[in-house]
């Protein structure tokens, strides 16, 4: 079975992002999407710590630690970018002004519930950051993840067993095996990585999936 690498997944997500889209890329894997947006396509990246119009990473030695992204890595600002405070930044998110948010996930349920903030382990220290705001705020929330855990369990599930981040908020899931769209009735398999069949994906997830 062919599976997308992390880079191939990022490239696939990037392909769907049209010019002029305002996008928030979650910490971790989604950050990689920025590398696959062609320079001539103007996509405006938002960082929840008060930046719109994030540019590429600075050259070594040119880092400014007052110009960072939500992952606290140094970034640059494009011409046309701007700064604002946390209140306005989360108004952009919560108010539905961000067109697209790409997030990582522990699990996504067939109803579009997202779990990505907490494993629920009783001795762990919880930390939520902007995850819950991002989950429910953007016009469209998509997830980017491997379909299976390292143990082979599906992360696309009937019901989340991890604590949820938001309910019924995910529209689409880009995985290493296929792209899934959360419909109002069921989950559609919209695109399959070459070499895998719908039946295999059904077996992997244990869910009643269908092609559109």
């Amino acid at each position: 079975m062919t599976r997308y690498s992390r880079n191939q997944m990022a490239a696939r997500v990037a392909r769907d992002i049209a010019e002029g889209t305002y996008v928030n890329l979650g910490i971790g894997l989604p950050t990689l999407v920025a590398e696959y947006l062609p320079a001539e396509r103007e996509v405006i990246l938002h960082s929840e710590n008060g930046v719109l119009g994030m540019g590429p990473s600075p050259l070594a030695g040119a880092e400014d630690f007052e110009l960072i992204n939500a992952g606290k890595q140094p970034i640059t600002l494009l011409q046309g970018g701007c700064f604002f405070h946390h209140g306005d930044s989360f108004a952009m998110i919560r108010g539905g002004h961000i067109d697209l948010c790409v997030l990582g996930a522990f699990q996504v349920s067939k109803g579009g519930d997202l779990a990505n903030w907490h494993t629920g382990a009783p001795d762990s220290i919880p930390a939520v950051g902007g995850a819950m705001d991002l989950a429910i705020g953007a016009k469209r929330v998509v997830v980017m993840m491997d379909l299976l855990t390292r143990d082979g369990a599906s992360k696309l599930v009937d019901q989340c067993t991890y604590p949820v981040t938001g309910l019924n908020c995910v529209s689409r899931i880009y995985t290493d095996v296929a792209i899934f769209d959360i419909g109002s009735e069921d989950v559609l398999v919209s695109e399959i990585v070459a070499g895998t069949s719908l039946d295999e994906i059904k077996r992997m997830t244990g869910l009643p999936l269908r092609m559109p």
Partner: protein, 230 residues
């Protein structure tokens, strides 16, 4: 390439249809988007709900919309002024519905819409006629009224300068409702004095980021169109 500039005010307001809810910036004439309002009056969609601080002065702006009988309902804080005769006449004839909102609650409800909140408890208006019938609650040692967000389909505002991404700066007290209305409307249309190249506006001083802006049109556009041969 992103370019939010459109070349005529008519084009900027072209998809405002009858029944739309429209925020209109300005405090008196400061920040009033006169060009856009005139284009809207020419287009003449009916049954509009207008959200603005005032209900029009003299013969132009919102007063002209009312005189043209396009406004079914207005949400504002200060309709009655020395020269608000078009509103006064329509109101006394029962032709226009008024929701009177304290100015700070108007601002806060617009902000709540822009920020995606479902409601806010505000102390303003508690115990007054303007809180009649509204849910109230004592929180801590103070009484509050539950007020709902005010959204709009369109916001028509005026700013000083824009770039092609729709980033805006304002001028002096003409800023007033512009930035918060831009955040509360599905489509924000801005009349500006000047459009500058991308990168000219200081990223520390941009007041309204382009994410809140759909169309930008130059205040001088009518003249420009005229001068170029129409």
């Amino acid at each position: 390439m992103i370019n939010k500039q459109v070349h005529t005010a008519a084009e900027a307001v072209a998809d405002i249809a009858a029944g739309a809810t429209i925020m209109i910036g300005g405090f008196g004439t400061a920040g009033m988007p006169d060009l856009l309002i005139e284009a809207l009056r020419t287009r003449a969609p009916r049954d509009l709900t207008v959200i603005s601080n005032n209900a029009g002065n003299g013969e132009s702006g919102i007063a002209a919309l009312i005189a043209s009988r396009l406004v079914r309902r207005i949400i504002c804080s200060f309709p009655r002024q020395s020269d608000s005769h078009h509103f006064d006449t329509a109101y006394q004839a029962g032709e226009i519905e008024l929701e009177l909102v304290p100015q700070g609650n108007l601002a806060a409800r617009i902000e709540a819409a822009g920020a995606g909140l479902g409601g806010i408890f505000t102390p303003t208006g508690f115990g007054t006629l303007l809180a009649a019938g509204k849910e109230c609650r004592r929180i801590g040692e103070r009484d509050y009224v539950l007020e709902m967000p005010i959204h709009a389909d369109f916001a028509l505002i005026k700013a000083h300068k824009a770039d092609r991404w729709g980033n805006l700066v304002y001028r002096k007290s003409a800023r007033n409702f512009g930035p918060i209305m831009a955040m509360a409307a599905t489509s924000t249309i801005v009349q500006v004095d000047e459009i500058v190249p991308l990168g000219v506006l200081d990223p520390e001083a941009i007041v309204t980021p382009g994410i809140f802006v759909r169309h930008v049109v130059l205040t001088s556009c009518q003249m420009t169109v005229g001068a170029s041969g129409n």
